[in-house]
Symmetry: C2
Subunit: 256 residues, 2 copies
Amino acid sequence: KGKLVAVTNQKGGVGKTTTAINIATSLAAINNKVLLIDLDPQGNASTGLGIGLNDRFPGSYEMLGELDDLNEAIKATVVPGLEIISATVDLSAVEIELVDEKDRMHRLHKHAAKLKKKYNYIFIDCPPSLGLLTINALIAADSLLIPLQCEFFALEGLSQLNKTIERIKLNLNEKIYIEGILLTMYDKRNRISEEVKKEVVKYFGKDVFNTIIPRNVKLSEAPSHGLPAILYDLNASGSKAYIKLAREMIRRLKRR
Amino acid sequence: KGKLVAVTNQKGGVGKTTTAINIATSLAAINNKVLLIDLDPQGNASTGLGIGLNDRFPGSYEMLGELDDLNEAIKATVVPGLEIISATVDLSAVEIELVDEKDRMHRLHKHAAKLKKKYNYIFIDCPPSLGLLTINALIAADSLLIPLQCEFFALEGLSQLNKTIERIKLNLNEKIYIEGILLTMYDKRNRISEEVKKEVVKYFGKDVFNTIIPRNVKLSEAPSHGLPAILYDLNASGSKAYIKLAREMIRRLKRR
Ligand SMILES: Nc1ncnc2c1ncn2[C@@H]1O[C@H](COP(=O)(O)OP(=O)(O)OP(=O)(O)O)[C@@H](O)[C@H]1O
Ligand SMILES: Nc1ncnc2c1ncn2[C@@H]1O[C@H](COP(=O)(O)OP(=O)(O)OP(=O)(O)O)[C@@H](O)[C@H]1O
Ligand SMILES: [Mg+2]
Ligand SMILES: [Mg+2]
């Protein structure tokens, strides 16, 4: 049975989309069936996997709406074994449009069981906020992958995120747990990176992945070619780090 | 009469908070009375100016609520001439709490005239989304300062931002205009930075500030000391760039 993982952090620009694209690709590359759900109105994950603006209908907006056959929203990507439900700016209307619907927080959850029968892993790329789109992901997910940029401001958001997770556990999804906290854009020349790492390990202990994603320009170049870094430049330090992360996730899964 | 500027971009991590703190400080340093309003539930601008968690009540959440005397929410900072209305995580409840209020989008606007009599410049640090908090800022503001990270994904958000601005102009605030688009985290060693710059100038022309903010580690170290970069390290390339931006803003203001 598949596993549904929300890639989330309300702090902006910490590497959520870059992580979602590259972990999904790495797991697909070692013979898993993987689905990526783009839940960000910016649609960066869809662009990063080369999905043109005209190929995104139906997508995640329709999935949260009245789409009967979910399979219509699922599209192939350039990566064998990886499929996507893509995003458009229409998603930003969801918060207002669903305000009176009783099940507005469970729209994604109602599709979860079906999707977990079809895929080994399902990753959700979340927007940088704790609004209705992210709440849908937190309720549907089995676990959370939390990218954390090695910067001072990123530490500040952690305690808020922890409080939000506790609240979700209490009221909406008691089984959710932290898959792992992933340190991103780590730069060994920069003192702050090491300080953040020490602080995070002190605060979250075993929940912190051993794998650390270095700052690597190839990771920011790849999306402009519509390719995950692993297809753009397999030997880049960023690509290797995400492949290592995929192996670590599988090892952790076995231990649970 | 003062000018109210919203620092906004729904893309995360592009340098909104870093820009709001350092442009406000630079203008205060050349004898302007400046106010910074932190409208992000993460409260990064408040932290970056050294405002402790216990010193934030009343703040911007109360300002949008039923606060009678706005002056109670205004606090001094370490920078002479710069005051702040700080933020707490309570702000994230605003979207839900005000959903039935008719004036929910004009809560900030109703304070604008009073504040513009007291300050030369008022900057609003917005969260990375286009929800109710940012809409409040877009309606209250005279103009928009749009930080744009020199990265591929940042370009993608521009057309969405432009559409949002057009919609606001049409329905909610016809006088709003773009103060300027500010290129941030520019790294001359990275090919993408130059590509993004060319693309933005092609798309936005004169609306792009001549001043470009370089990637500079001092800008990311300063907030951990509760200081704007200009007080942390005046000679850093990042500090000098924001001082140059302050002068450019004043020149542009005179020309309008
Ligand atoms: N390890 C890395 N090294 C270098 N650049 C990176 C790395 N990870 C991400 N980036 C770049 O940093 C920027 C922010 O990353 P990304 O867009 O993945 O973050 P995000 O958390 O999804 O942002 P948002 O909050 O807007 O959704 C992007 O331009 C991306 O290409
Ligand atoms: N020019 C720069 N050089 C180096 N680091 C920078 C620069 N500008 C900002 N930073 C760092 O990059 C990170 C993102 O910047 P910042 O938090 O200001 O962006 P933001 O747009 O306000 O993010 P959010 O979308 O979460 O509100 C921060 O850790 C900040 O210290
Ligand atoms: Mg993203
Ligand atoms: Mg910010």
